[in-house]
């Protein structure tokens, strides 16, 4: 039985949720039901209603508009953090795998050390030295992804370094730069793409956690994690305030995970039956 994308339930559900996220984010740039920053003293901490489908926060701001706009923050941080981790990780892995020897040993110990710094830990340190900002959270999350990208790239380089086509190119006079760029790097790309799809939802979870701690997005900008931080003080007054932003995170991550699982299932010939 050949699997088709149109029949793969996991893939389809993931695709629908992810498209929903992207459309919501795009629409929120040009239209939200209310201004996400507009306050209203009389309409604070309301539950869901016709005027405010998800209710309002402690400043009377419309939660639906804020949750919509929060999607942008999540996507932005996810893309940039994974990008940082991938770029630096690939550079490390390339040097390690291509040159080998003591350079490999040094870089791999450095990667082991970086593995000791989950996003929260780097964010704590960076926030203490500089100041908690969105860019610090992106760097902290990116650093946490560095080891996995470095190991993947290194493994590919070790695999392809001594293959015939690389040896032949070297014999024809290709330099290190050309060998890496033209002959080895292109072969490392598919596993890197798969890893990026796994990392993206993890980055979104990490951003939410850091913003919840006050180490990421700063007020008054809408971020799902930051909304939950503020909602905690009003759990008894308006529980919906804590439910919707968290639900948005969970739904987004679920969608991206399902999409990633489905993609890997469809692309990987080994698991196809």
């Amino acid at each position: 039985m050949r699997r088709r994308p149109g029949r793969h339930v996991t893939f389809l559900i993931g695709l629908v949720i992810t498209l929903g996220l992207l459309v919501t984010a795009a629409v929120s740039l040009v239209y939200t039901p209310r201004d996400p920053l507009e306050m209203s003293i009389s309409g604070r901490l309301q539950g869901p209603s016709g005027a405010h489908p998800l209710g309002t926060d402690q400043f009377g701001r419309d939660l639906l508009s804020r949750v919509m706009r929060g999607a942008i923050t999540s996507i932005l941080v996810g893309v940039i953090a994974v990008g940082i981790g991938m770029m630096v990780g690939v550079a490390f892995g390339m040097i390690s795998g291509y040159f080998g020897g003591w350079l490999d040993e040094v870089f791999m110990r450095l990667v082991d050390a970086i593995q000791g710094f989950p996003a929260i830990l780097s964010a704590l340190l960076l926030a203490a030295v500089f100041r908690p900002t969105l860019s610090i959270s992106m760097v902290a999350i990116g650093v946490a992804f560095l080891p996995v990208f470095a190991r993947l790239t290194r493994a590919s380089f070790l695999e392809f370094r001594d293959r015939d086509f690389v040896v032949a190119a070297r014999a024809l006079g290709a330099g290190d730069g050309a060998l890496i760029r033209r002959h080895i790097l292109p072969n490392t790309i598919p596993p890197l793409i798969v890893q990026a799809t796994i990392s993206f939802p993890v980055a979104i979870l990490a951003e939410a956690g850091l913003s919840y701690l006050g180490l990421g997005t700063q007020p008054p900008n809408p971020s799902w994690g930051l909304m939950l931080r503020e909602a905690q003080a009003f759990l008894g007054l308006n529980p919906w305030y804590a439910i919707f932003p968290g639900g948005a995170i969970a739904l987004t991550v679920l969608g991206l995970n399902l999409l990633g699982d489905g993609l890997r299932d469809l692309l990987d010939p080994k698991t196809a039956s």
Partner: protein, 314 residues
């Protein structure tokens, strides 16, 4: 065998050296002047100069690093500016909350994930398997701190069964202390539980396809015996590896959950230190936690090699 262990321990020492270098570079080299961070830009130049002398910032960077790491190796992580206590004393006192929280979460995670993973494997592509996998998909999608908020909403705001966080210390007895750690541990372990359940399921499924399992069944052994004596025991190596790495993740995750439940652990100590510009505390905690994570990862690696000769000689 001895050579393998020795080599791994030497690698761990090198890794720990890099951990300390990373912390040092971020705290002392990147920002320019740590004294200005602690005192603020508008500080009196005399007090800045005094603090620079106290912190040894007037000496060459390499000397500063060697002094700092030399003291850290003897357990001296500096003095907290806010509390005027040794940072190591503060860490030890807060560890009394963070460590039990982490271990409780790990215990709950293992107790729930392994049986469920085995169950799913035995029901492969049937209802029980699909239900377990759905549960695990939800587990990896729900952020731990949101799960914590929902638990507070349910058990303290709605039902009023427990207070919404806080911790009265171990002086009141073990049981009340454990009870206030139970909800945070459950929320903390949720994500890793989902990951471990999946790992267990695929590890057991893998082993169940092996020839020796077929042989055991052909011999007429009871299915339960095949499952536990033959399949699970061999599946344990990947399971233990993943669980070991998860310990470090749980330790890091406890920083967030302590904030949700107002637990006076390492995480809250550090967050308060950031607001108070108490740089030595943040630096000490980060160095300590990162070293713990790296050491646990290396220990798992070594254990893996000891258990499985193919890794040792590979």
């Amino acid at each position: 065998m001895h050579r393998y262990v020795l080599r791994r321990v030497a690698a761990l020492a090198a890794t720990l050296l890099f951990v300390s270098l990373l912390v040092f570079v971020v705290v002392r080299v990147l920002p320019g002047d740590p004294a200005l961070i602690i005192l603020g830009i508008e500080a009196n130049p005399d007090s800045v100069a005094r603090l620079r002398r106290e912190l040894g910032l007037d000496r060459p960077v390499a000397v500063q690093y060697l002094q700092w790491i030399g003291r850290a190796l003897r357990g001296d992580l500096g003095r907290s500016i806010q509390y005027d206590l040794p940072v190591s004393t503060l860490i030890l006192s807060r560890l009394a909350v963070t460590l039990p929280l982490t271990l409780l979460a790990a215990g709950l995670m293992i107790a729930a994930a392994i049986p469920l993973g085995v169950f799913a494997a035995t029901r492969h592509r049937r209802l029980g398997d699909y239900l377990t996998m759905t549960l695990s998909q939800l587990g990896v999608a729900v952020p731990g701190f949101w799960a914590g908020l929902l638990l507070i909403l349910l058990f303290s705001v709605h039902l009023g069964w427990v207070q919404a966080g806080g911790f009265d210390g171990w002086g009141q007895g073990v049981w009340p202390a454990l009870r206030s750690l139970l909800l945070p541990a459950a929320a903390l372990g949720l994500f890793q539980f989902a990951v471990l359940a999946r790992t267990t399921r695929s590890a057991v499924l893998e082993v169940l396809r092996e020839e020796y399992v077929k042989t055991a069944r052909a011999k007429g052994l009871a299915e339960r015996r095949v499952l536990f004596r033959h399949a699970l025991r061999n599946a344990l190596i990947p399971i233990v590896t993943v669980a070991g790495v998860q310990l470090g993740q749980l330790l890091a995750g406890s920083i967030i959950l302590e904030s949700v439940f107002y637990l006076p652990g390492l995480g809250r100590l550090t967050l308060a230190a950031i607001s108070a510009r108490d740089l030595p505390v943040v630096q000490g905690v980060v160095l300590f936690v990162a070293s713990m994570i790296v050491t646990v990862n290396a220990a798992v690696d070594i254990l893996y090699g000891v258990l499985d000769p193919r890794i040792r000689y590979g």
